[in-house]
Symmetry: C2
Subunit: 210 residues, 2 copies
Amino acid sequence: MAERTPLTRDRLLRSAVRLADREGIGALTIRSLARDLGVTPMALYHHVHGKEEILDGIVDLVFAEIALPEPGEPWPAAMRRRAASARRALARHPWAVVLMESRTAPGPATMRHHEAVLASLRAGGFSVPAAATAAAVLDAFVYGFAVQEAALPFDGTPTPEVIEGFRVHVDPQAYPYMAEMLTGHVAQPGYDFGAEFERGLDLILGALAP
Amino acid sequence: MAERTPLTRDRLLRSAVRLADREGIGALTIRSLARDLGVTPMALYHHVHGKEEILDGIVDLVFAEIALPEPGEPWPAAMRRRAASARRALARHPWAVVLMESRTAPGPATMRHHEAVLASLRAGGFSVPAAATAAAVLDAFVYGFAVQEAALPFDGTPTPEVIEGFRVHVDPQAYPYMAEMLTGHVAQPGYDFGAEFERGLDLILGALAP
DNA sequence: ACCTGAACACCGTTCAAGT
DNA sequence: ACCTGAACACCGTTCAAGT
């Protein structure tokens, strides 16, 4: 994996994102990252102050992938577009929402994101407190949905093996309603957990108003 | 910290929860936990199979703290009560929502929780798919809100020092809407981020229907 | 300016051994 | 049955040294 291009902070962070995507955030270590970059662990310290700064940096790279509301775009369309975009970004990088919880140093992309969201809501007629509520509720839904999607033992639609696993582990005597949910809904053809995202988002956007 | 009571799985897990609460999930190691219990690291392996089982176990202990819907309780009251209880539990144990994302082996308390939620919604007249949507949206909101609360650099109401920090770091030229939000709302007396929880929950419960 | 080698104080886990 | 000591293959980070 030896590379000839000189190491930069940007190349370091992009490599870290790829490594976390590929092998999980637990496998992202200074040493494994250095290995990928064809360099010794200590070389990284010339571009970042330590592991914490790497974690801050890759969270900001994920925020940079999220579509921003466009100036002039009606707020419901803008919120729907950025929520869907955020969900896709968090599904591509399932470790991101975990890290977000522990980061307190928002990067530039994160700041731009929040600024654009507030700008869209304020332009749509929301008062400052109403914009705060709308942003908090929408963000909570997007982040919490990402947590649920990441915790699913399947990708949207469960495989026959996963369904068989449910049947073995969920005793209908002890958990009748969970059993009903699994056989009568989750195991049905065409089931897709991801569809709950659109339904939930519609529900919240319908209830929000300036 | 030497203790004379014999080590049990339950004592081990409760000690792990206290350690994670006190020093963060990153400080919960086999070795630090053994130290707290007055025992060698290897002694733990006689009660759990490894660290993964400890993480599964403490997530289940957090679910055990969440109030369950009572049989016969109207579903909106039940959902409101268990959402508020879940939020308090996740605020007491901020590491829990992070772990939830990576756990795929739900414990007995987790199973009982989900079963009771589905039972309440089904008894309230929700169809199986509608109950799935309602549970997914409510859980997403609760988990996502917990992520936001954990990421806040303050506890509900920001201290003057935190507000001063915002003023320094958020340039009103670059981020006018964030600056407006901070000075015109967050820095105002009586501001409490936690109040967004009730508002968001009301909004979602009002939009949900069997 | 940028990278390295050796070292330090940590991890989780296995193994063989003690009571 | 329950616990231990020593060892192994890992961590993040510091320091002094090389080019």
